[in-house]
């Protein structure tokens, strides 16, 4: 693979990230039609999506695969920006910081989305993730409270995580992508 081709492949990563985000929004909207963010119903509703809803298994699978692929694409994009020393060009610092911030948003998407099925594993991971986040200096307690929706993982957590995953984080990601597009138009983003 020539160096120029490799470079053009890496330059295509933001476009791929936008396409994957589009797939996530579309499949997420379809999943939200049948998902119930309630501790008593969440697990059963995910089971219904996977087994009873027409092509629900495929929509759910696409959502999960696209989410993990998006995280990998964002990671590769950051590596490209780093090793190409892209932040040295005019406006490159803003593009770098925006990319890192978007990668944090993608991480939050993964962590909140993983808890939504509300099975035993998801519950256990939510408890451990909240405990781990709580140990972060300065912001840890606040972040853990935002994640849990209260002092401990419980009924309020699922509602909180569903709201974060389906309402707040998509808008944050959308705003980030719009800003990245604007930087691109001004010839400052990769």
């Amino acid at each position: 693979v020539s160096r120029e081709r490799l470079r053009s492949l890496f330059r295509g990563l933001p476009g791929l990230a936008v396409a994957l985000f589009g797939v996530l929004v579309a499949t997420g909207a379809l999943l939200s039609l049948d998902y119930r963010p309630d501790p008593a119903e969440a697990w059963a509703s995910v089971g219904r999506i996977a087994s009873a809803v027409t092509l629900g298994w495929l929509v759910r699978g696409l959502h999960v695969v696209a989410a993990h692929l998006l995280a990998a694409v964002v990671g590769l994009h950051l590596l490209h920006l780093f090793f190409a020393r892209d932040f040295l060009r005019p406006g490159g610092t803003a593009a770098w910081m925006l990319s890192v911030a978007l990668s944090f948003v993608v991480l939050a998407f993964l962590l909140t989305g993983e808890t939504l099925p509300w099975d035993a594993r998801a519950y256990g991971r939510a408890v451990m993730t909240a405990a781990r986040v709580e140990t972060i200096p300065v912001l840890g307690h606040w972040l853990a409270d935002v994640f849990r929706g209260g002092p401990s993982v419980g009924a309020g957590t699922l509602v909180r995580l569903a709201a974060l995953h389906g309402l707040l984080l998509p808008w944050l990601a959308f705003a980030g992508l719009v800003l990245a597009r604007r930087l691109d138009r001004e010839g400052r983003a990769p």
Partner: protein, 182 residues
Amino acid sequence: VILRLRPGATPAEREALLRALAAAEIPWRDEGDLLVLGEGAEASDAVAWAALPAVAAVDPAGSPEPALGEAFLRRAESLCLLLGPLAIAASLLPGRLGPPADPVRMPEDPGTPWPLAAWAALEERAPAALPVPLLVAGFGLGLLLWPLYARRLAERRPGLHAAVGVAALAIGAALGLLGMAR
């Protein structure tokens, strides 16, 4: 105005061109072998741009925009190329759904989400005196602010800059693999 870049142009020559554009306050879009210049670029300056070592040719006319139908077909083709492998992967991966959550009974080892695997491995293996959460928070903040304090390093010692990146990547990957293999 479109600048067609010389295939053998060195990074320094490309950077000199970008600096010249920045000095002239001309916005640009990088298309790999092409630089598409925005407002402010005059066709009358073509001779000056063509004289720069990185530039092979100047095309004042630009490439024609694809027709609406063609653009739609291109997008549809790209979407199919993306959705096809995604659908295959989605159908091959098992949609695991364990027993329902029971707040009274915590599962013994729920595992760690892969983005936090390196953190989990560090917590397990690092000496007790090492403030792991502080390290993790510091890494996140350091990553965000990297261009602000490492600019000089990246400009003057690109080899060392790359070595720092490779070392961080290797440590992160090793810890991540250890965390996931638990």
